[in-house]
C-alpha cells in the first residue's frame, strides 16, 4: 500500500512494523514528530510496546541499553544536541554489543543554536562503532529502519538510521508501506544468547583488564583490546552481512540494489559528484543539466558511512577523472570527513581520480541548484587547479 506521509512518520511506521518492544525518547527538533507518533501508536494500542518518556537523551539511551541487555528490541530517536548528550551512552551501547536502533533526523549543532539541517551531528559520531545508514527519501527511511533492526541483531552492533532534518523529516512523499506479514517473515524476533536472566545470571560490562585472564575453569577470557578487536572485525564483516540482508529484503519487498552507494548516470561518467543524504537527489537535477551540455557527469550517494564501504566506493570511483565530494559537515581544523575517507580509500588504487571537497548547507543554509552547477562546472573545467582544503559554497562573507 502506498501512503503519503512525512519522513518522521515513515520512520515511526518502520519502527511499528519492526515491533520494537521498548521505546524511550526525548523531544528535540526535528526528530520530535517521530517520537510523538510512536507514543500515539503505543497509547492507542496499535503497537504493543513500552514507551518511556525519559527526562533526557542520556536516559533514553540508558533505557535502550538496559532493555536490550534484558532481551527486548529497543528503539530511540534524536537529533543534534540530543545525540551529543548521549555520546557516553552511544559508546556504551556499542561496547556492550547491543542491537539498539536509533533514528537521527540530522541537524546542525550549537553553539550558536540552529535547528536546521546539516550532518555535523552524526558525522561527528562516526568513530564510536555504531553502524550508520543514511536515507535519501521516505521509502529508504522506512525500509532502512526495518533492515537496521535485522542488521543490528545479526551482528550485535547498534545501528543509526540518519535522514536530513526538515528536508526529509518534515516533507511529505509517497512511499510504499510494507505489509506487516512480510516484515514479520523478514525480521525474526530478537532472541539473544545472553541476557539479564535470574535463571542464568551473568555480570555484564564488568571491569576488564588490559590482558587476557583465566576464568574459574581455567579458560582464557579476552582482555579489553581483544574485545575491541572483535568489534572492529565484526563491523568489517557487517558489510557482507548487510548485502545478504539487503538481498533478502529485495526478495521479500522488491526493493534492492547496492545498499552502500546509489549511483545516477555514473556508468560512463568522467566526473562524479558524491555526497551523503538527500542532497544526492538534488544533485541529480544538476547532473541532468550538465549532461545536456555533454559533460560526462554522474552522482553517487553514500548510504552507509560506517562501517565504511570502501570497496564499493573504490569500485565506483577508481578510474574517474574527478570526484567532487559535497559535505554538510566538517572535521574542523582539517577537511570534510567523507572527503578524507574517500581519498584514503582511493590511495592504493592504480587509477586515482582527482578529488575535490566542497562544504555547504551548514545550519540549513539553502543550497541553490545554481551554486551546485557553478561548483561542478569549476571542478569539471579545471580539475587540476584545486588544492586539498575544502571550498565553501554559498558563503556571503
Amino acid at each position: 500500500m502506498h501512503i503519503i506521509e512525512s519522513g518522521n512518520v515513515a520512520a515511526a511506521i518502520g519502527v511499528k512494523l519492526s515491533r520494537a518492544q521498548v521505546i524511550a525518547a526525548y523531544p528535540i527538533t526535528p526528530q520530535t514528530p517521530l517520537t510523538e507518533k510512536l507514543s500515539e501508536f503505543v497509547e492507542s494500542g496499535e503497537l504493543e510496546a513500552e514507551y518511556i518518556p525519559v527526562e533526557s537523551e542520556h536516559s533514553a539511551m540508558a533505557v535502550c541499553i538496559a532493555a536490550s541487555s534484558a532481551g527486548a528490541r529497543a528503539f530511540t530517536a534524536t537529533s543534534a544536541n540530543g545525540l551529543l548528550y548521549m555520546v557516553e551512552q552511544l559508546n556504551w551501547a556499542v561496547g556492550a554489543r547491543l542491537p539498539v536502533v536509533m533514528c537521527v533526523a540530522n541537524r546542525g549543532i550549537g553553539a550558536p543554536w540552529t535547528v536546521w539541517n546539516d550532518q555535523q551531528d552524526t558525522i561527528s559520531q562516526r568513530d564510536v562503532g555504531w553502524i550508520q545508514i543514511y536515507a535519501n527519501d521516505h521509502q529508504q527511511i522506512i525500509d532502512s529502519v526495518i533492515k537496521a533492526f535485522k542488521l543490528a541483531q545479526t551482528v550485535s552492533v547498534p545501528v543509526m538510521v540518519c535522514y536530513d532534518g526538515y528536508l526529509l523529516s518534515h516533507t511529505y512523499m509517497p512511499f510504499e508501506q510494507p505489509e506487516q506479514k512480510k516484515v514479520d517473515a523478514f525480521l525474526p524476533a530478537f532472541a539473544p544468547k545472553h541476557f539479564l536472566d535470574p535463571e542464568n545470571p551473568g555480570n555484564f560490562n564488568t571491569v576488564t583488564l588490559p590482558d587476557i585472564r583465566p576464568d574459574v575453569d581455567g579458560n582464557m577470557a579476552p582482555g579489553y583490546i581483544e574485545i575491541r578487536h572483535n568489534l572492529q572485525e565484526d563491523l568489517r564483516a557487517a558489510l557482507d552481512t548487510y548485502v545478504t540482508i539487503d538481498n533478502e529484503f529485495e526478495k521479500e519487498f522488491g526493493r534492492g540494489g547496492n545498499p552502500f552507494i546509489e549511483e545516477y548516470r555514473c556508468d560512463d561518467a568522467e566526473f562524479v559528484a558524491v555526497c551523503i543524504g538527500s542532497l544526492s537527489y538534488q544533485l541529480r537535477d544538476v547532473v541532468d543539466i550538465m549532461r545536456d551540455d555533454k559533460v560526462k557527469i554522474g552522482v553517487m550517494g553514500v548510504q552507509m558511512y560506517r562501517p565504511f564501504p570502501d570497496q564499493a566506493i573504490v569500485g565506483a570511483l577508481a578510474g574517474k577523472k574527478c570526484v567532487i565530494v559535497f559535505e554538510k559537515a566538517l572535521s574542523y581544523g582539517n577537511q570534510g570527513a567523507l572527503y578524507a575517507d574517500i581519498k584514503s580509500a582511493l590511495y592504493s588504487s592504480e587509477k586515482k581520480p582527482r578529488v575535490h571537497n566542497y562544504i555547504l548547507g551548514l545550519g540549513g543554509r539553502e543550497i541553490k541548484t545554481q551554486h551546485l552547477l557553478d561548483a561542478l562546472a569549476q571542478s569539471c573545467t579545471s580539475p587540476d587547479t584545486f588544492g586539498d582544503s575544502p571550498r565553501w559554497i554559498g558563503l556571503k562573507l
Partner: protein, 294 residues
C-alpha cells in the same frame, strides 16, 4: 507489622561469593550481602561505577550470583527503568529490578535519572549506599559528604557545605516507600529491603555505609562507627511509607532518651580531624533541633 528478622532466622543463602575485592571492614560488603539475601534470587541488579563495580570482580570473574548489568555513572535510574520495561514487554513478572549505587552516583551525577524514574513511578527498588564521598576514585567530596570532612578535594579546611539530604529529595517525589538504614544495623536493613520487595512503584533505601579507608578509622570499628552515627542522632533510621514518616529500630529506641554527643562520633574518624569547635557546636544544635521535631 511482620516480626523483625533475627540472626536466628536470617536466611543462610548467600548471593555474594566470599573473597571479593572490597577493603577489609568495608561497610558496603555488609550492606550488599544482607541486601541481596533480602532480595533473593529473582533479582536483576543495575550498577553504576562505584566501589561496588570493583567489589563485583574483574572479568571474567564475578562475585555476585545474580544477573547484573554495569551501566554508566549518570544513568542508573534510567537503566533500571529500561530493565523493568523489558521485563514488562517480555511478560516476565516477579523479578525485582534493583538499582544499587553509591552516594555520588545517586545524589550527584545520577540524580536526574533517578528523579525522572521516581516521577514516572517506575517499578524499581533503588538502594543508595552512602559512604559520604567518591571512594572509588580516591575519596573526593560528594554532595553527601558532611560538613567539615577532609577529603582529597577538601584537603585542608574540610568540606565547607552541609550534607545534601538525598532521601528527603526523593521523598519529595511522593513515592510509596523511602527508608534509611545503616550497615551497622544489618537486620533492620534486611527487613526494609524485604518490605520494599512487597511494594510496587519506586522504592528508595538510603544506607549509611562506613568506609574505613575513606573515613580514616581502623577496619575493626565499622559497626561501632556506624552505630555511633545513629546513637548520636546524626543519621536516623526511618521509613516514609505512603507519606507517613516514622523512626525505626535503633533511632526509634532513642526517642525520649538522651543521645550521645555528636563529638563522640566525630572523634572516631580521622576525616573529622580539622573540625573546629564552632562547627561541632552548630552540628549539635542542628541535631537537637531535628530531634525536637520527632
Amino acid at each position: 507489622m511482620e516480626k523483625a528478622t533475627t540472626i536466628l532466622n536470617l536466611t543462610e543463602e548467600e548471593f555474594v561469593h566470599p573473597g571479593n575485592r572490597a577493603c577489609s571492614g568495608c561497610g558496603l560488603s555488609i550492606v550488599y550481602r544482607i541486601g541481596l539475601k533480602a532480595l533473593g534470587k529473582d533479582t536483576v541488579l543495575v550498577v553504576p561505577p562505584s566501589c561496588l563495580t570493583v567489589l563485583q570482580g574483574l572479568y571474567p570473574v564475578a562475585s555476585t550470583k545474580l544477573p547484573c548489568v554495569n551501566v554508566t555513572f549518570a544513568s542508573t535510574g534510567a537503566a533500571a527503568t529500561g530493565v523493568r520495561a523489558a521485563m514488562r514487554a517480555l511478560k516476565k513478572n516477579n523479578v525485582n529490578v534493583v538499582a544499587w549505587a553509591g552516594d555520588g552516583g545517586t545524589g550527584d551525577i545520577g540524580i536526574q535519572a533517578l528523579s525522572g524514574a521516581c516521577e514516572r513511578g517506575e517499578d524499581i527498588i533503588y538502594i543508595c549506599y552512602d559512604n559520604e564521598a567518591y571512594m572509588n576514585t580516591g575519596v573526593q567530596r560528594s554532595g553527601t559528604t558532611p560538613q567539615g570532612v577532609l577529603t582529597t578535594t577538601t584537603p585542608i579546611h574540610g568540606k565547607l557545605q552541609e550534607k545534601k539530604d538525598v532521601p528527603s529529595i526523593i521523598a519529595a517525589h511522593k513515592i510509596g516507600y523511602v527508608a534509611t538504614a545503616s550497615a551497622a544495623y544489618p537486620l533492620d536493613l534486611y527487613d526494609k529491603v524485604k518490605k520494599a520487595t512487597t511494594i510496587s512503584g519506586p522504592r528508595y533505601i538510603h544506607v549509611h555505609t562506613p568506609c574505613p579507608p575513606g573515613w580514616n578509622f581502623d577496619p575493626r570499628y565499622t559497626i561501632k562507627v556506624g552505630k555511633l552515627a545513629v546513637k548520636t542522632g546524626l543519621f536516623d533510621l526511618y521509613e516514609i511509607e505512603n507519606g507517613v514518616f516514622k523512626l525505626t529500630g535503633a533511632s526509634h529506641y532513642l526517642l525520649g532518651k538522651t543521645r550521645l554527643p555528636v563529638s563522640e562520633y566525630f572523634s572516631t574518624q580521622g576525616r573529622f580531624k580539622s573540625l573546629d569547635a564552632e562547627i561541632v557546636k552548630k552540628v549539635q544544635q542542628q541535631v537537637d533541633a531535628k530531634w525536637a521535631t520527632y
